[in-house]
Amino acid sequence: MTYLHNIGKYFLMIAEMFRKPTKWSVMKQLILKDIDDLVIGSLGIVAFIAFFVGGVVAIQTSLNINNPLIPKYLVGFATRQSIVLEFAPTFISIIMAGKVGSFITSSIGTMRVTEQIDALEVMGINSLNYLVFPKFISLMLYPFVISIAMFLGVLGGMAACVYGGYGTLEDYVIGIQTDFIPFHITYAFIKTIVFAFILATIPSFYGYYMKGGALEVGKASTTSFVWTSVVIILLNFLLTSLLLG
């Protein structure tokens, strides 16, 4: 019952978020600040993880093909496919659910606990629009983060492959160009946009509607991470079956 109740409340929150917009001059600054906090602030960790995981994917693939009948360029091909289709859009999003999600939940939750949200409401401000909308807008830049992750992942694979002596640069480059299906990119970016929406709204939901004190802010962040990840994984399954299946 509480699940259903929460799901209903979540959709009502989304609807409310678009009502009575905050003055543009103020909103502009909020969006810029959230771009800085949520998007720019995540580039470092995303780049780091993508590069090294790309490397590991390439090494693993090449270690697992011993059969001489399998062409050498398969390493590049497999790395590209796993990075572009799953690793960058989905797994980076799970990492973002930890990084960005817990930041959103705890910052909004703290505002709830210290009555800052009440203060906004009492002034006649739509606090959901004020707090959540700029996060939603700034995370529309999330595909940009994921593109970087894709690029660096493939680059990391190349570096590991070539400098680790697992294959030649030529093979790898041929591999990443083999059987390129443009729709895969579309598929990846559809997922990315959906996950961006989830990353902005579910952590906000858990922060906005939390009750209690500082201890509960911590608990809310954990719950928010769990549910954001669960929803991302489920939607990933759903979208993959719909779009590629």
Binding site: S25, T110, T114, Q116, V122, G124
Partner: protein, 255 residues
């Protein structure tokens, strides 16, 4: 003018407000007093619509608050200034930005007009050198005064203060009390203040509502609170030796 009729509020099993009926007049400082835990904050939050209540009605100038549309509620609230018990400053903004916030949201003033206004109100709460501090760097009493400055900066029609001078030294507390009184008179606004500070009661209690166990136990003013023989009120007001003596002297003088 705010009229409250038969207000009931519970949290689960706990019945906090048990049918309060009273009114707060325009141009007056209305005080709600009562012991810690008597429901003052809950009452104030019901007035502001931050808490839902089970029964009763609250009317602003004759309009029932719960029947307003969301937009009407927001328009009404844009005319409200509120000082929370815990200050509730925005911790991502400096003190000056906090005070400027209502102006940025609700007026079309230029940057310099807003800055002048912020300087002016910060001066009125005796804080003219803290503009660029963050709330976390300010003392509790400073935060309280910033919250007051933020509440009054946009000339509200209704001013609600939850213990505006708790945590302030006696001298600053009186400055704040007088400021609230001045603003109330100057702009003819409806001011509602939660307090358990007897100095405030004596300074600014034009109307006083005494809450006890979720009920209105007594209602009067700073002039009648001295004379009442309601035991609960006298026990509350004259809990300190100083006030017991003051009362004795007062009654002797006037008998």
């Amino acid at each position: 003018m705010i009229e409250v009729k038969n207000l009931h509020k519970s949290f689960g099993e706990a019945h906090i407000l048990k049918g309060i009926t009273t009114s707060f007049e325009k141009g007056k400082t209305n005080l709600i007093i009562g012991q810690s835990g008597s429901g003052k904050t809950v009452f104030l939050k019901c007035l502001l619509g931050l808490f839902d209540y089970e029964e009763g009605s609250i009317a602003y100038e004759g309009k029932i608050f719960s029947k307003l549309s969301p937009d009407e509620k927001r328009n009404l609230r844009a005319e409200i200034g509120m000082v929370f018990q815990g200050s509730a400053l925005f911790d991502s903004m400096t003190i000056a930005e906090n005070v400027m916030f209502p102006l940025r949201m609700f007026t079309k003033q230029s940057k310099s007009e807003m800055q002048d206004r912020v300087d002016f109100v910060l001066k009125r709460v005796n804080l003219d050198d803290a503009h660029n501090k963050m709330p976390s760097e300010a003392s509790g009493g400073m935060q309280k005064r910033v919250a007051i400055a933020r509440a009054i900066v946009n000339n509200p029609k209704y001013l609600f203060c939850d213990e505006p001078n708790s945590g302030l030294d006696p001298k600053t507390a009186i400055v704040i009390d007088n400021l609230i009184q001045e603003i109330t008179d100057e702009y003819n606004i409806t001011t509602v203040i939660n307090s358990h500070d007897m100095n405030s009661v004596m300074e600014i209690g034009e109307k006083i509502v005494f809450l006890k166990n979720g009920l209105k136990e007594w209602e009067g003013s700073k002039d009648t609170i001295f004379k009442t023989d309601n035991e609960a009120v006298t026990n509350f007001v004259y809990s300190s030796e100083l006030f017991k003596k003051v009362r004795k002297m007062y009654l002797e003088e006037n008998s």
